[in-house]
Symmetry: C2
C-alpha cells in the first residue's frame, strides 16, 4: 500500500491557489494514512524531472501556512503541459516515478487542462492496476469548470474587477465632459469575470453601464446604438467588455483591430482598443480603453475572504476524498442555499469536467440592455464578501 | 470683512484629494471667522459658472466625512483650466463672483497648474485691494511640487505601485521559463512614482530588478547590456519604467514606438510596448509589458493611512493659515525626522512653487545599476505605511 502524497499546481495564477495547497497539506497532516507529503515544482514538467520538495519541512509552522495562504500565484510554480492522448513513454516514466516515490495520493490544482491530467493519469494508473488515487482540486479566475458551483480564485478576481470598475467610474467622472471608458477584462470563452463587474453597483455607483460577454454574439451597430441611447442620461458611461467577445460567425472582435507597429510586426490590438477607435469614429466623443492586466489574477491585496477560506477547505476535502478511496474525480462546491450562503463539498466524475467549459447561462443575461439579470447578481454576491461586508466600498456623492 | 469660504479641486485625480477637502471643511467649521462654506464644482470652470454647493449641508455628519475621505477622485469634480497670463475679463468676472458671494477665503486643491491659479488670483485680488486669502492645498501622485517634503496622493499611489510590482513578480515567476516583464508607470518628468517601486522589496521579493527614471537620459545599448547581465542570475526580471523616460537629446522614448492602427491613425505606443519589442528583438526571450493604468491614481482600496491622514491634516492647516491672514501660499509638509517619522505643517510662497517641478535628485539614483539609493528608500518608506505595518505584504517562498 503506497502511503505518500504528491501535490502540484498548474495553469494560470490566481490568488487562491496557494490557499488550496495549504488546506490540502494541513488536512494531509491529520490523516495517519499519509506519510511523505511531496510538492512537485512547476507542475507535471517538474514532476517528470523529479523536482520534489518536502512540504512537511517547508510548511512547519502556523506562520508558514498563513503566509502561504496570502501569497498570490504559485508557491510550487506552474506549467502549461498537456499529457498526450495515446499511451506511451511519458506515462511509463510517470508510473516509474510514482512507484519509486511510493505515491498513493496525487493532487493537481488547476483548471480544465489540469483536470485533463487527472483524467489521463487516473486512467493510466487504473489500466495497469497501480493503486494511485488521483483527485483534482479546482482553480481558475474564469469560473468555467463544470460540475462545481464556482471555482477558487474567481471570487477574489471578481472582487478586484468590481472594485476596479467602481474606482474607474469615479476617475472617469471628474471632468464636466462627456466621455466613454471601455474596461477590457480577462476571459476568453466564458464571461463570468466580466459579468462580475455588475457588483460595482453594490457600492451605489451606476457603473458598469454596459456589459459585453462572449456568450452573446457581438453586433457593432447594436452596440453603438445602445451606447448612443445611454449617453444623454449618463455623461460618463463605463463599458465592461470581455477580451473574448466574438462576432456571430465566430471570429474574435480583438482580431479585427490588428496593428502594424514601427517594426512592421502585426499584433492583436485587444478588443478594448478596437472598440475605443470605433466609438471615437462613430460617436465622436472622448473615449479611452483600460486593460485590467495580470493584476486581475494576482491582486492578493484585494482577496475575498470567502474565496480564500473556500479554497483552503476544498484542498482539504480533496485529500480526504482520496484517503476515502476516490479517484478520477474533482472536488466540487455545491451551493446548498443563498440566504444564508451555505456550501457542501462534494466530488464529481472527472470525465464530466476535463476539457469542458461552463459558460454564463443565457437566461442570466439581458441581451438587449447589455446587462446581466438579478439571478446572476444574486449568484455572485456571496463570493466577494469579506469579514467586513459585501466587499465593495460605498462612495461619497454630492 | 468677507466671511465666506470657497474651496475647489483641480487637475488629475488621486485617492487623497477628498481627504484634503474633508480636513479643510472640518477645520473651517471650527473657525468662527468663517460663515458659508461653498464647494465649487469642476474647479475654476464651475466657479466661473457659479456652480456652488453648500458644504455645511452636504457634510452634515461624521459618516459623510468618513465616506468622503475614503472616496477616490474628486467629489467636487475637476477641470484642467489655466488662467490667462494677462489681466482681462476672466479676472473681472471672478472678482465679481467672489464679491457677490462675499468670499474671503479661497482654497484650490491641486498640482503645479492649480498652484498657478493660486498665484494669479492672489496677485489679481491683491492688485485691486480685494481682501481674499488664497491658499493652495497640494495634491499629486507625481510628488513633484517644490517646497514640500512630499505631496498628498503620492503615498497611496506609491503603495499601489509597490504592491502591484510585488504581485506581478509572483505572477511572472510561475513558469520555469526565462521571461522579462516591463511595468510602465505614470510620471512624465519626475520619477518619484516609478522610484517607489523599490518598496516592493520591503516584502522580501527582489523586484524590481531595474528602475528607469525620466531624470536619467535613456540609452538603449546600456539598457540592453544591463538586462543581459542580469538575466543568468534572475530568471524573471521585472523592469519598472516611467512613461516619461527620454533620450539624451530630449525626445520621449514612447514617441519612438508610434503605431499605425487599422484605421490609419497614429498613436503613441507607450514606452512599455516599445521596450517590449526591443527586448524581444535583441535578447530573443519571452517578454511582456504591463501598463498600470488609471488605478495608480484611483485605487483607494490600497490607500496609505499615512497619506490619507496627512491629506486631511494639510487641508485643515491650509484653512487655519488663511484665517491667520496668509495669502499667496501653499500649505506644505516639512519632515522633522525619519525615526520617528514626524512632520511639521508650514506654508511656502506660491511664487516658488507654481509651474515648477521637483524631480528626483540625481544623488539618490544609482545610474549604472538602474536602481535607486538607500536614501531614497528611507525617504519613501514612511509614506506607504498603514496601521498594520510597512504596507507591503511578505510572501511565502520555498
Amino acid at each position: 500500500m503506497r502511503r505518500n502524497m504528491l501535490i502540484a499546481q498548474s495553469g494560470g495564477p490566481t490568488v487562491a491557489i496557494n490557499a488550496s495547497l495549504s488546506g490540502a497539506v494541513k488536512r494531509a497532516m491529520k490523516h495517519p494514512e499519509i506519510d511523505q507529503i511531496w510538492g512537485g515544482r512547476n507542475g507535471l514538467e517538474g514532476i517528470l524531472n523529479e523536482q520534489f520538495v518536502d512540504l512537511r519541512q517547508k510548511l512547519n509552522s502556523q506562520e508558514a501556512f498563513r503566509q502561504l495562504e496570502s501569497t498570490p500565484a504559485m508557491a510550487l510554480g506552474s506549467c502549461r503541459y498537456k499529457l498526450p492522448e495515446e499511451p506511451g513513454s511519458v506515462y511509463e516514466k510517470l508510473r516509474g516515478i510514482f512507484s519509486r516515490y511510493e505515491i498513493g495520493y496525487f493532487f493537481y490544482i488547476g483548471g480544465n487542462d489540469s483536470m485533463d491530467t487527472i483524467l489521463k493519469l487516473s486512467q493510466s494508473f487504473g489500466s495497469v492496476g497501480d493503486d494511485v488515487k488521483c483527485v483534482g482540486i479546482p482553480k481558475t479566475i474564469d469560473n468555467d469548470l463544470p460540475c462545481t458551483d464556482h471555482t477558487p480564485g474567481f471570487g477574489s478576481a471578481a472582487r478586484y474587477i468590481a472594485t476596479s470598475v467602481a474606482e474607474i467610474a469615479c476617475d472617469s467622472a471628474v471632468y464636466n465632459v462627456p466621455s466613454v471608458t471601455i474596461v477590457e477584462i480577462m476571459g476568453r470563452n466564458a464571461g463570468w469575470l466580466t459579468a462580475a463587474s455588475v457588483l460595482a453597483r453594490r457600492g451605489g455607483c451606476s457603473a458598469p453601464h454596459m456589459i459585453c460577454l462572449p456568450e452573446v454574439p457581438f453586433q457593432l451597430e447594436k452596440f453603438l446604438k445602445r451606447l448612443g441611447h445611454l449617453q444623454p442620461q449618463v455623461q460618463n458611461p463605463i463599458i465592461a467588455v470581455s477580451e473574448g467577445v466574438r462576432f456571430a460567425e465566430g471570429g474574435y472582435v480583438s482580431s479585427q483591430g490588428e496593428q502594424v507597429d514601427a517594426f512592421g510586426h502585426r499584433t492583436l490590438a485587444g478588443v478594448g482598443k478596437y472598440l475605443e477607435q470605433l466609438v471615437r469614429d462613430n460617436l465622436g466623443c472622448k473615449v479611452r480603453s483600460i486593460e485590467l492586466n495580470v493584476l486581475q489574477r494576482s491582486a492578493s491585496h484585494l482577496y475575498s475572504a470567502t474565496d480564500i477560506g473556500e479554497a483552503c477547505r476544498i484542498g482539504a476535502e480533496a485529500v480526504s476524498f482520496a484517503v476515502q478511496g476516490k479517484t478520477g474525480v474533482m472536488a466540487t462546491f455545491e451551493r446548498v442555499s443563498d440566504h444564508p450562503y451555505l456550501l457542501a463539498y462534494k466530488s464529481a466524475d472527472i470525465r464530466l469536467i476535463a476539457n469542458r467549459e461552463k459558460t454564463v447561462p443565457l437566461e442570466w443575461i439581458d441581451v438587449d440592455r447589455y446587462d446581466v439579470k438579478e439571478a446572476l447578481t444574486q449568484y455572485l454576491s456571496p463570493l466577494i464578501c469579506d469579514e467586513n461586508g459585501c466587499g465593495i466600498p460605498v462612495y461619497f456623492s454630492l
